[in-house]
Structures are given as C-alpha cells and as structure tokens.
Symmetry: C2
Subunit: 324 residues, 2 copies
DNA sequence: TTGTAAGCGTTATCAC
DNA sequence: GTGATAACGCTTACAA
C-alpha cells in the first residue's frame, strides 16, 4: 500500500502537499495537483483510515449495535443503514448482542477501541439505567433506532398511530366487528381501539385475545366465529408470524378470508407475501428509519456539543394485499 | 479516553511498561503490574486499536463482504460469523454489495483503508477474473464463504451430495417416483439423480421441471399427478420459497402431502417451519460454515505466506419435518 | 526488569 | 502556495 510520503517522493513534493492535493480543500498549484493525482491513481492509493483517525480526525466509521441480525426485520434495517452510511462515506462496524446484556455491555467498550465517529444502536433495554450510563460514559454521539429511548436521540415507529391506521382501513373495507390478537396493553391495540372509536364503532364490536399456541387460538377463533355470524370480522394480529398462524387456523375452520373476515399482520415481512391469500400488513418504514437515524447521527457527529434530545416518531404504512 | 501514557504518569512507570503489563507477554514486577492494572481498570482503559494497527500490528478487524444481508440465509451467516469472530477477539466491518459489481469493487478498496487483518467474502461472481484480480492485489488473506472459488480458500456446501442425501431420504420413506423442481444442470439435481440411480431407481421415474410462475407450475404439477397416479411422488424443490409455492399448489390441486407426495425444500429457512405441513428441508450447516471460514481466515492471518489453496466442502443435513 | 527512542501515516500549525 | 515539524497512541528494538 502506497503512502502519502511515497507519493511525495515520487512527485518531488512534500508529504503535506500530497495530503492537501488529495483532500482538495487547500489551494495547490494545478501542475503539482495533477502530478500528484496521477501518481495516486496509478498506484491505487488508499487513505490509511487508521492514521487519519489516530491523528484526531474522523475515522468515518459508524458502530452499529443490533440485537439480532438474523431477524429479518433487523437484517433489512442493517442493509438500509449500511446503504445510507455508505452514501455519506461511512463504513459500518457491526455488533450483534443476541439479546445478551453482558455482550452488549462488552460491545459498548469494544466499539470505543476503534474510535468510531458515532454509534447507531438498537439496545436490548432502551430504558435501563445501566445502558444510559454506558452511553453517557461514551464520548461519541449515539442514536437509537426502532425504539424510543429517554434522553437519547431516537427514531421509532408510532405503534399507536399504526393501530389507528389499521382501524381506518378495516372500516373502509366494510368490516363490522374487530379483533386484535396480542396483548391488550400493546400500543397498537390502544391506537386501534381509539381509531375505531373515533369512527363511531361501538365498543361492543371490539375485542382482543392473546396468542399462546395454535390450539388455544383455534378454540378462541372458533368461538369468535360462532357468534355474530353475519358481521364480517377485521382481525389485526400483532405481527406477521401470528397473522400467518391465524390464516392457517381460518383455513382449518373453513372461514373464508375477505368473505367472512380480513386479516392484517404487522411488519410486512417477505414471508407474508408467500401466503395464500397474500397477507396485508402494516409495514415499518425501515429505509426511512435507517436514513433518518444515520442522518441524525451524522448531524451529531458534525455538530458536537449538547443539543436538545431528538425523538422522531415515524408513521406506519399499510401494505394492502389480498387478506383484507 | 485514557491512554497508556497517562496511566504511565499516574503509576510512575514508563509508557512501554504499561504496554507490557496490559499485553501480559513480557515479565514485569508484580507490584508494578498490579498498580498499572488497577489504574487501567479504574479508568476503564480501552486500547486504541487505531494506534495499534497503525504501528504495524494487527487491527483485530475482519472485513466481511456480503451480497445481500437482508436475505435470511446471509443474515444468519453474518450472525454466525460475528459470533465466531468475536470469540477470537475480532470485530467485523461489514459491507453489503447488493449484487452490484461496482459496489463490490469499491468495497474491495474501502476495506483496505481500515487495514483489516483479513477478509471474509461472499463474492458476486466467485470465478470472475476481475474479482480474482482484486483479491490478488490485496495484501490481506481472503476466504470465500458459501461458494467454491478457484484459487482462493473457500468453504461451501456440497450441493451434489445434498441431492444424494435427499434421494436416500425420499426412497427410505417409500416414494416411488421423483421430481426435481429447478434447473436440470443444478448440482443438486445431478446428485439427486445419481443417488436415486445408485439405489436402483429406474430413470423413467425421475424427472425435473423448472419453476417460472405459479400458473405454469400448477399446470405442470397437475399434469404430473394425472399420470402414474398410484406411485407416491417425492418432490425436491431447489429452495424453500419454491417449495412453499409447491405446497400451495398441491393444496389447490387437492393432492394430499405425504399421502400422495412428499416435498423437500432447500435452505431450511425459518419460514418453512410456519407452513402447514411444516416443510422438510435441506439445511446448510451455516454455523459450521461460518466457523470454518473464520478459523481458516485467522489461520491465514497468523501464518502469512503462500499455502496451498484450501477448499472445504461441507455436507448438507436434512431437517425432516412434516412434508415428507 | 525497566526506560529511552524511533517509527507507523496522517493532519495541523507554523514559517517561508 | 509550499515545506518543515510536531503530534496522535501504540509496539518494538535497544540500552541501561
């Protein structure tokens, strides 16, 4: 690997001049500039990011700390982050905590060794005191993605609003009663109820059940479809996997989808598109989330100092397919 | 961030002594060692990997160049690579070519900037001359994963053997005729045929069709099940996605799975386990592939110089579920 | 066993 | 405009 000093020797200039030419910020005589650039190109010069970083300047490295890269959602997020970072000239150093708190803690240290310019994290427990502590101890900016973190910049999906969105869609499609499958305290359900309420749906027609296993869900859905047989049911599952189980059970119960009920999933995973019928689903705007997170992080990198905490809530989008 | 020099000042020793203590290779007086270690711990000292790398020593960085991190298979691979690398004290710098040749080329350059100790790659075109050229131009060891690369160390799955494995399984389960869905020149099919042949299956009962779209596949399968109605059919699809389409079509054709036919997928993706019936599938030993690749790369890092090219072919495993 | 000195490849601060 | 020179934090001789 050729260095600036070597290029300097070859082109009969000083090494700092080579630096000036290659960085292109300071004025340099055109003939020198040309000579140096030609030489650099010829030898396929590559900046030594280590030396640059050591010197105090930026490393152009972004630490990315995820919980589970093998999860399709985070894999897509990682992809988008990498794309967006690349656009801005940053490379990604990847850490995957696998939901191990100790590992996450270790990574918070390891990442410092590489003097990354900033960290983009999906913490395991975004509101734990220890994690907040680690972040404060760091001397680099941190942005949290996919979750709301108190006291730290973050970008996340508005689950509550997503529920409302689903409510509007199901109502528009003429469903007359509504079932949420998931925890009753889920923000999605809160928003779902509120949305239905706003649009004048009687609370009697809104209910929720939890999903534990197929047999229990089958029982529950069977019961649900015994009553109020005439009203088409709009079913909102807390994620696509759950929704897929629902589709399977509906098939076993001989409840035709869209005729007697509609099903909406959450996450809009690829797998949903392979179902029959294709699963309608709420999609998280992953690429926007990645872009906003990366850009905010870069903003923080380029504008050090304390700024008010920035929390960006993104709106969900509905990907309507064949199941609703 | 505290430095060795600062620790040296605080503990009244020289900076190289601090280095000696922290690295633990050279002999240092116990009382000094203790003092230094205590100080380092107290201030949560972290090595400056940039300085270490710059000095000529290793960066403990591994460049990982993938084609598509959002693909579940590669996502899992990335996870395993990260795990294995971490175990050995390496961190991962991730690049995702998205199957763009120019991007891959750019990344081959960018990665040099960070002076990674080695590169673990899934190249887009493992046998292209240009790529081989880029690799030769590099001064760091490269190991290719998931594909066989001529002239470069690589770990990959034995597709041919996998086909043979499937043949044995289907025969054992009593299927009497066999259908491969995919390209006829696929190594899986070659192995599949050979396996069946070895076990005495008449070539008349072996065939293959390609998969282009659902309608065409439905026609083809319909035709296939019209003839030789008595023989149970063992169907081997070139990947899980295809197998899932097959399952769907079999349902539409009212061909009961396991009674009249069995279906085997390839990749053993998570999605297959959510099917009904659960999809039997050939699983690539991802974690072993990752481990072998990482370990080979580390071997190359620690033993520079020319060694004979190392090509490791791994055997597939069959994950038998409910569809066969 | 420990300290001194040099050097890795940059950028930044000076002079000229 | 351009060239010395110092500095970043570390490892590796070499000296004591």
């Amino acid at each position: 690997m050729i260095t600036m000093a070597e290029i300097a020797k070859l082109t009969h200039v000083s090494q700092p001049t080579v630096s000036r030419v290659l960085n292109g910020n300071t004025k340099v005589a055109p003939e020198i500039s040309e000579r140096v650039l030609a030489c650099a190109r010829e030898h396929n010069y590559q900046l030594n990011a280590l030396a640059k970083g050591l010197q105090g300047s930026k490393t152009q490295l972004m630490g990315v700390l995820l919980t589970d890269i093998s999860n399709g959602f985070f894999a897509e997020l990682a992809k988008q982050i990498e794309m967006e970072a690349r656009k801005k000239g940053y490379s990604i150093i990847l850490f995957n905590s696998r939901y191990h708190l100790e590992l996450e803690q270790e990574y918070m240290n390891v990442v410092r060794r590489y003097h990354v310019d900033g960290i983009l994290a999906v913490p395991i427990r975004e509101n734990s005191a220890e994690w907040a502590e680690s972040v404060k101890g760091l001397d680099v900016p941190v942005v949290v993605a996919t979750r709301h973190a108190k006291g730290i910049d973050s970008v996340y999906l508005d689950h509550d609003g997503a529920g409302e969105l689903v409510a509007g869609h199901l109502l528009e499609r003429g469903y007359g009663r509504f079932l949420f499958i998931g925890r009753s305290y889920d923000a999605k359900y809160i928003g779902f109820r509120r949305g239905l309420d706003k649009l004048g749906v009687d609370g009697r027609f809104i209910s929720s059940i939890e999903f534990h296993n197929d047999e229990q869900l089958l029982q529950d859905l069977d019961g649900y479809f015994q009553m109020d047989g005439k009203l088409r049911a709009g079913i909102f599952a807390y994620n696509d996997i759950c929704a897929i189980h629902v589709l399977d059970i509906l098939r076993r119960l001989n409840v035709p989808v869209t005729e007697r009920c509609g099903v909406i999933g959450f996450d809009n995973t690829e797998i949903g598109a392979y179902m029959n019928p294709k699963l309608s689903s709420v999609s998280q705007p992953i690429s926007r989330m990645a872009a906003e997170a990366v850009n905010r992080l870069i903003y923080r990198i380029e504008n050090p100092g304390t700024h008010p905490v920035w929390n960006r809530s993104l709106q969900a989008e509905l990907s309507v397919k064949d199941s609703s």
